[in-house]
């Protein structure tokens, strides 16, 4: 559905996007994950026709958009990282206006606006001016505006940044529903857990380069042969950790919290002997489970960037620009 080859964009001496290539399949939700300034928004801008690539090709639904970015604009919906509807118009008027930009006739656009306001839980606020909406409501209406013409491809740039937990959760549900209904979604985010929950495949982008693209399950399975088991114990995890290290020198043991121990090994961990050892030491083992590395672990390993730092940076930037 989206084919990108050798896409490059520089602003002066700064190379914002450096020779990236990827493809997004029909009906797929594809995540673009990276820190601030990685080139996510520049990539979306080039794909949607808001920026001109310096090099490379873009094909959307088979249409070559490299030379004529307008050619595929009727097929795409765009939700920018900041809500950019008209503050002086009501929610209903905003949606009707956006529909008219795609040539929808009056009756059709009004019916579609009503339908989306209902779906997004904004029917009660339909007659209120957009400028008076809360951040969560603004994001929802901006997404509704992005899909007003029922595009087969939707570009979402940081859809849940700067909004409350409940609204973010609802927006994720709506995005998942859109994808389930067949919309191809290209999602940029700095929330790793959001990408992990929503996307089928993810590309990690750092300093304008894609450092890894893979399916989520393949990314998290590739653990370099490491096996991790986590034990929940009744007491004194620090002492128990020392005991394990002494008895099983081939295992790396670390205390996660006061009652949780994590044991890592290059081969399968023999849980039975460890549980026996812990019980012999007077501990009650309430749980032993294999730990799968999170996407965050993979991201940190692949990019060398701490996920927490990335999130904080983005939130700070979001506050700064009023997003």
């Amino acid at each position: 559905m989206i084919e990108v080859r050798g896409l490059t964009k520089a602003f002066g001496k700064i190379i914002a996007v450096n020779d990236i290539s990827f493809s997004v399949r029909n009906g797929e939700m594809f995540g673009f994950l990276g820190p601030n300034g990685a080139g996510k928004t520049t990539t979306i801008n080039m794909l949607t026709g808001l920026a001109r690539p310096d090099a490379g090709t873009i094909r959307i639904a088979g249409i070559d958009c490299s030379k004529n970015p307008k050619a595929a604009q009727h097929l795409i919906g765009v939700v920018p990282d900041e809500s950019n509807l008209y503050p002086e118009l009501t929610g209903f008027e905003n949606l009707c206006f956006c529909a008219s930009l795609y040539g929808m006739r009056k009756a059709g656009r009004q019916a579609r606006a009503d339908q989306l306001l209902e779906t997004f839980g904004l029917a009660d606020a339909a007659g209120r001016k957009f400028g008076g909406y809360s951040k969560g409501m603004k994001r929802k209406l901006t997404i509704a505006a992005g899909i007003i013409h029922a595009p087969p491809i939707l570009f979402l740039d940081e859809p849940t940044t700067g909004i409350d937990v409940a609204s973010a959760r609802r927006i994720r549900q709506l995005i998942a529903a859109l994808n389930a209904a067949g919309t191809t979604v290209f999602l940029t985010t700095h929330y790793i857990e959001e990408a992990e929950r929503l996307c089928r495949r993810i590309a990690f982008i750092v300093k304008g380069r894609i450092v890894r693209t893979d399916a989520v399950e393949d990314l998290v399975c590739q653990t370099d042969g490491r096996h991790t088991v986590q034990f929940t114990v009744s007491n004194d995890a620090a002492r128990l950790c020392q005991k394990i290290t002494a008895e099983f020198p081939n295992l790396q043991c670390q205390m996660v919290t006061g009652g949780v121990i994590r044991v890592e090994s290059s081969g399968p961990v023999r849980v039975g002997s460890l549980v026996r050892l812990l019980e012999d030491c007077g501990a009650e083992v309430s749980e032993a489970r294999k730990v799968r590395p999170s996407l965050e672990d993979v991201f940190v390993r692949v990019t060398g960037i701490e996920a927490g730092t990335m999130k904080q940076e983005k939130e700070k930037a979001g506050k700064g620009d009023g997003a």
Partner: protein, 245 residues
């Protein structure tokens, strides 16, 4: 057809959101009234001098009406990023910008007829050549609007749009031959007058209202149309280079 639905809705939205707001309507009425009063007091000749003042009043009403609102609203929408929404619409940039400017052109034309309407109540306008006046009012509105567009796409901030507008407007008012003939200007200033679109608009206004044009009508209209084309093409080029960079 789909593009024209977009065109019409951009135009009507802008009319509702910007041009038909009470401050703009009162501006359109008050502006020519104040100028009429000011010039009448200054000349001391009373209402019989109104036809002499009318070309200037019409030109000023169009120039200020068309350039002010457009340059500010486009800059405002660009800054608030709602302009991106328009750039993402599947319509050509040319049609999009014509839709954005159509409201300002209409506003300029309506503004032009306010002083004419007032003058018609106060003095005899039977000598006015309406068949020349009406199209030239439209052409002046188009050129003033495209000047506003050129200003809007050359600046980043709303306050810059205002300052930059005045940079063009005030010299234009005094150099275009509205209030004193270009021949009365110092020799070194005259070339400047001839590169201002309003010079040619003002000449046709003089010709149609006072029968006192100094240049051939076809030359005036041709050059005015050329200015419209140049300003529009230059604005589109700026948008492509700066906003879709």
């Amino acid at each position: 057809m789909k593009s024209w639905i977009a065109f019409w809705n951009i135009l009507t939205k802008d009319m509702r959101s910007y041009y038909l707001k009470p401050p703009n309507i009162s501006w359109g009425v008050l502006f020519p009234l104040v100028w009429i009063a000011m010039f009448s007091i200054r000349s001391g000749l009373g209402m019989e001098s109104l036809p002499d003042l009318l070309p200037g009043l019409v030109a000023l009403s169009i120039l200020f009406g068309a350039t002010s609102v457009l340059s500010v609203t486009v800059t405002f929408e660009k800054k608030g990023r709602s302009f991106e929404r328009l750039l993402l619409a599947p319509i050509s940039l040319e049609l999009l910008m014509l839709a954005k400017t159509a409201g300002a052109i209409l506003f300029g034309v309506v503004n032009a007829f306010v002083p004419i309407l007032i003058a018609s109540l106060l003095t005899d306008l039977s000598a006015v050549k309406w068949t020349i006046l009406t199209p030239v009012v439209f052409l002046i509105a188009v050129s003033s609007t495209f000047l506003g567009l050129f200003i809007a796409v050359s600046v980043k901030e709303v306050f810059e749009a205002q300052t930059f507008s005045n940079f063009f407007r005030f010299p234009m008012i005094f150099l275009c031959g509205l209030f004193f003939p270009i021949e009365h200007l110092p020799v070194w200033l005259r070339p400047v007058a001839y590169v201002l679109p309003l010079t040619y608009g003002a000449d046709v206004l003089h010709a149609s209202i006072r029968h006192a044009g100094r240049m051939p009508l076809t030359l005036d209209v041709g050059l005015l149309a050329a200015f419209c084309g140049i300003l529009f093409v230059a604005s589109l080029r700026n948008i492509r280079q700066k906003w879709i960079a």
